[in-house]
């Protein structure tokens, strides 16, 4: 009993000593906290500003300009976007949001499969065609066929026009990510893990899926994050490969880009031929578009964040 107490006291002494050793002086602490709070505000403030502008009324912007305290609040921009309807009267934003969701999820999964498998293969020193594959993957990292040739292949040879494939496939696989994946597998996965699988009689596929992938979560999260952002933000593929009458296939970003293009066209064209519905909330609309673009993808970040952990392979092998 006595001994225990003593040990405890020692431990407390030691740990408090450690804490003291690691502790910052209050002044320094305050200074650093202040600095990082400032940095955080610098990051968050523009977003808040954009949200506020998107909820200001156009009249208030015309009168007092952009401000944190608008003279008048209004959800007119959002109302306008919500009231855009497709042929059957379904809200365009919802339908295109669904399209974007399908494209993003399908594209990310497909891209992840392609990139990790290819990266793994060229990371294996024992693979005979490794060099050839590496060169094959390396070339498109520097050159590509250019817009015209790519378009001819996708649209006229493969007939991908007006399908989701035309939007998903061109972005699914990137040489750069394959190289990143290969480097990760080479550096972070000890050979012993693969060998242990071989000794136990596992095939290549089983080694890859059951031994390598579980310890590669940070890599997968990184690649998936980039892919998700890439698919979510992309409207260019849609503008190339979807006929402008196929509203049913438009992803969200493309719908928003089109609204922006319309605003610009109306603002620039002198002759507004045809009865234009007078007053579009143009400035607030731009900001509302930013909000609609940013907010959904913002929520995906915490999901990926939990996989950004180091030290997964610690203790998996003894060397």
């Amino acid at each position: 009993m006595k001994k225990e107490k003593k040990e405890n006291a020692v431990f407390q002494e030691v740990s408090s000593g450690m804490e003291k050793f690691n502790a910052l002086r209050p002044g320094t602490n305050a200074a650093f906290s202040g600095l990082f709070i400032l940095l955080a505000i610098l990051c968050v403030l523009p977003v808040v500003f954009v949200i506020i502008i998107s909820f200001s009324s156009q009249a208030s912007i015309n009168k007092v300009g952009y401000t944190f305290t608008p003279a008048e609040w209004s959800a007119e921009a959002y109302r306008y976007v919500w009231h855009l309807r497709d042929y059957h009267g379904f809200p365009t934003v919802l339908r295109s949001f669904l399209n974007s969701l399908i494209i993003t999820v399908a594209g990310t999964v497909l891209g992840l499969v392609l990139i990790t498998t290819m990266g793994y293969v060229i990371s294996r020193k024992t693979f005979r065609l490794r060099k050839a594959y590496a060169v094959f993957i390396f070339i498109p990292m520097i050159f590509n066929g250019g817009l015209l040739a790519t378009y001819v292949v996708n649209a006229q040879l493969l007939h991908l026009k007006n399908t989701f494939f035309a939007i998903i496939l061109p972005l699914a696989c990137s040489s750069f990510y394959i190289m990143v994946a290969a480097t990760f597998f080479r550096m972070a996965i000890p050979d012993a893990i693969v060998e242990s699988g071989k000794i136990d009689g596992a095939g290549q596929l089983r080694i890859f899926t059951q031994l390598v992938l579980p310890v590669s979560l940070p890599l997968m999260a990184t690649v998936a994050l980039f892919l998700t952002f890439g698919y979510w933000n992309d409207w260019y593929q849609a503008s190339l490969y979807l006929e402008s009458s196929r509203h049913d296939l438009f992803p969200l970003q493309y719908v928003l880009v089109n609204i922006e293009k319309n605003i610009q066209f109306l603002a620039n064209s002198d002759m507004m031929t045809g009865g234009q519905s007078g007053e579009l909330p143009t400035e607030t609309m731009r900001m509302a578009i930013v909000v609609l673009t940013v907010v959904p993808i913002m929520f995906s970040y915490p999901f990926f964040q939990k996989y950004f952990v180091t030290g997964l392979t610690v203790g998996s092998v003894k060397e």
Binding site: N62, H247, K261, G274, E279
Partner: protein
């Protein structure tokens, strides 16, 4: 080299196209028609297209797939040789000059006689602008084809001040109007503009050969020995004088002082005196943009030039075996009121309603789901007009007959059909453009003094190679005039 490139491109187009031509056989011939859109096709277009096709199939045995492209998409589809039968073309979308030089468009010189109604629907003096060499490659759309620039005046204010409504008020004569408003509202400005200055203020100050680099012919020199002398606008007196006037107004406080840094100025927020390119009758459109009654008075024009006509054309593909059907369909679009109105306004009752006086009013659905750039489809002058949204600004139902009469006798460029190729002097042009960009915001809004700035710009442009650019364009123009004079006796 260029010819070789053209030949290869043409050959390539031919190969690509040969596989995709619509299969012949029984039933109506199905054509493809390229149209312009700033963003996307109208949401309800498919329904309208079905109605149009049912009509045209019965009338001329042709149906059509209308495809809407924005400016990026059209560059891609035309360069990769996608199949089409009919295409909208202009000098800003699906460039007419380039497309003709690579052989994309059919020479219609000998075909048009079989479509007399179509031929007759086009104003005679516009054909010259669509001729390249001795071929004729497109059909000009009848719309505001000559540059006319108007004052757009606030009806309530100026009627209240007992200013008589006049059909024409010259640029200088507007000054009392500005002065009156300034006296009544010293804190406000009668003219409120963005950094581009008064809308369309320079459209008629020269016969523009290239407006980006401010190069053109002096209208005043027409009929004299100097009529073919290529000049920089900076050396054209009319251009200089107008800028001096604008500067004077700026100093008197008639123009908003922050104009040079104002990005955009919608009509609804601009002042009681605005300007715009249009025609008598366009005040209904300007009123709905300003959301207040206005009337208009012309200060420039009408001037007919290559670029004014090339604003909207329709061409036929040189690779289509169905050029006869294509021309028949173009003729239907440009002579049949029902077909034209449906393409423009949509389904009656759903997208628009017909008023007792023959005008139409678009419904809410028509505004949101069936908004097209009507002038890109065909003649803007054909079919019912849109009703005015202001009782004080009635729709003039004779506006296009009157306009066509004015255009028929408009001051006409002496080099109709000539467009300079600036590629031999591209570097110099780029430098000139930089200089224009540097000064134009302050110059066009009256912020800076043209007496100081213009000589400075000119000397810098000369250093950048303005003389070489002018000489090159002059050489091309002399060539053009020479060839034209040589062909005249044959006709």
């Amino acid at each position: 080299m260029k010819k070789l490139l053209c030949a290869i491109t043409a050959l390539l187009l031919l190969f690509l196209v040969s596989g995709c031509a619509p299969a012949g056989g029984k039933g109506p011939v199905h054509l493809v028609w390229w149209l312009m859109t700033p963003s996307e096709a109208p949401v309800d277009w498919q329904e309208v297209e079905d109605a149009l096709n049912a009509y045209s199939a019965e009338k001329i045995g042709v149906t059509c797939d209308f495809r809407y492209y924005d400016s990026n998409q059209i560059a891609l589809v035309s360069q990769t040789g996608e199949y089409f039968d009919i295409a909208f073309t202009s000098d800003y979308w699906n460039d007419f000059g380039t497309s003709v030089s690579v052989g994309m468009f059919r020479d219609l010189k000998n075909d048009l006689d079989d479509y007399p109604a179509l031929k007759a629907s086009v104003l005679e003096n516009t054909w010259d602008s669509v001729k390249v060499g001795d071929g004729l490659y497109a059909i000009p759309h009848m719309k505001d084809i000559a540059y006319e620039v108007f004052w757009i005046l606030d009806t309530e204010y100026f009627d209240g001040k007992d200013f008589p409504r006049k059909a024409e008020i010259s640029f200088e004569e507007i000054e009392p109007y500005l002065e009156a408003y300034k006296q009544d509202y010293p804190e406000d400005y009668p003219i409120k503009v963005s950094y581009s200055g008064l809308t369309s203020w320079q459209n008629d100050l020269a016969d523009w050969l290239n407006m980006t680099y401010l190069i053109g012919l002096d209208w005043e020199a027409q009929g004299t020995e100097e009529q073919y002398t290529v000049k920089s606008a900076l050396e054209i007196p009319a251009w200089q004088n107008r800028l001096k006037k604008i500067h004077e107004w700026y100093q008197k406080g008639y123009i908003n002082p922050d104009a040079a840094v104002t990005e955009s100025m919608p009509r609804s927020q601009a002042g009681v005196v605005q300007s715009g390119q249009g025609w008598y009758g366009a005040e209904t459109i300007w009123a709905s943009a300003r959301q207040k009654p206005v009337y208009c008075a012309r200060f420039d024009g009408p001037d007919l030039s290559t670029s004014s006509v090339r604003g909207a054309l329709t061409a036929v593909s040189s690779f289509t075996p169905y050029w006869r059907e294509a021309l028949a369909l173009i003729q239907l679009m440009n002579t049949d009121p029902w077909y034209r109105e449906t393409a423009r306004y949509g389904i009656e009752g759903k997208h628009y309603i017909r008023n007792a006086d023959g005008t139409v009013t678009k419904t809410e659905r028509g505004n949101t789901n069936m908004a097209v750039e009507a002038y890109t489809q065909g003649h803007y002058t054909l079919g019912a007009l849109e009703a005015s949204s202001f009782p004080q600004v009635p729709t003039d139902k004779e506006q296009w007959t009157k306009a066509m009469k004015r255009y028929a006798s408009a001051r006409t460029s002496v080099v109709m059909g000539f467009v300079p190729d600036i590629s031999p002097v591209e570097t110099e042009c780029l430098a000139i453009r930089q200089i224009v960009e540097e000064y134009r915001r302050e110059l066009y809004t009256g912020t800076s003094d043209p007496d100081v700035v213009i000589p400075k710009m000119l000397s810098r442009m000369k250093e950048a190679g303005l003389d070489r650019v002018v000489a090159e364009i002059q050489r091309q123009l002399d060539d053009f005039v020479h060839r034209k004079e040589a062909t005249v006796p044959d006709q």
